[in-house]
Point group: C2
Chain length 204, copies 2
């Protein structure tokens, strides 16, 4: 009877261990948002970039917002909207640690209209509504022949819902036309992104 | 001998259980970023707001950036910088679900200089460097007598490192001077924050 009780105790303890170990392993799993990059870079069978789902970039790291409005660039600016730019969390972590953008880096650029130009705080530019979504991806394996291994995708230049997939832009449209020569750091316009400049190589 | 071995086995299993359980508990602890609001709202013994640590707002939800530059508000704008505004993740979750800002909501406003006004993309405003940090907190329990229960704190109007604590601004300086009458939703200028407008009451 005593032996039997001990065996049950042992068995119980082992079962409890297994259960707790399983729970521990489950707790280690990363969410899509935490996975960041890995989850973001998915392509369809035609090589089109699939949209990072559920507006996941709202959980990414915001890096900066340039604005080149129409009224300062008559008759019409090439990019009249606010560009709210985000980087995936894994790439940001790597950039902080090493000062370099890792393979698989994704930057999302959400376009926002100029909503108003006057408020109680003065004359200026105030964000209106979402009117587009673009992405830049660095991937030497997938894009070995692109300058810097960066490719630029346009989901939409219209209000949401954004299309699920984005075609690659021609190399000449974004890469060699601007980013290759003028971007501050590895095809990224870090000169306009204080978050990236402040973080570069500063550790985890 | 056999009994002895069984005892050791039992003891080992129990120890393993405890160890794994401890590991599981540790894994359940939330990081400051995950804790969001709860971690953000800490005050010193004088009631000054303590700075959300380690730039935790980089993991918060970016909501928008107004800009009212000097050259559009001669001779000098009251707020000549970019204002990059973030909300703590818990409050954002609540706002998405209910359409209301919960008690404990924290908004961080990071001031960024106008770095340049000309780039390959045209004339406009491009973010320079960080030059200040402010916060708004909604807390009916702590601020029962403030309009809307919102209080405004200024950490710094200078470059980082920002001071660790921030004094409350007088009610007349931010609250009744602007936010109370002119903010779009509950003392928050949601009319300039497309992320909040798009999320309001849209579910988890």
């Amino acid at each position: 009877m005593k032996k039997h009780r001990r065996s049950i105790l042992s068995l119980g303890a082992v079962l409890l261990s297994s259960l707790l170990f399983a729970a521990y392993l489950t707790s280690l799993q990363v969410t899509p948002a935490e996975a960041g990059m890995a989850d973001a870079v998915i392509y369809d069978e035609n090589g089109n970039l699939i949209q990072p789902k559920d507006y996941v970039w709202r959980d990414w790291i915001y890096v900066g917002t340039p604005i080149t409005p129409n009224d300062l660039n008559p008759p019409e600016a090439p990019f009249p909207e606010f560009h709210n730019v985000y980087i995936d969390p894994e790439a940001f972590k790597h950039y902080k640690k090493t000062g370099n953008f890792p393979q698989g880096t994704v930057l999302i650029k959400e376009l926002v209209s100029v909503g108003s130009k006057q408020a109680s705080s003065g004359k200026g530019y105030f964000q209106g509504d979402f009117i587009g979504l673009e992405a830049a991806v660095k991937d030497a394996k997938r894009f070995p022949d692109e300058p810097g291994n960066w490719v630029y995708f346009t989901f939409s230049h219209k209000a949401p819902p954004y299309p699920k997939t984005a075609n690659r832009q021609p190399t000449a449209a974004c890469n060699t036309a601007c980013h290759q020569e003028l971007a501050g750091d590895d095809w990224v316009f870090t000169q306009f992104y204080p978050v990236l400049r402040a973080a570069k190589g500063k550790g985890m």
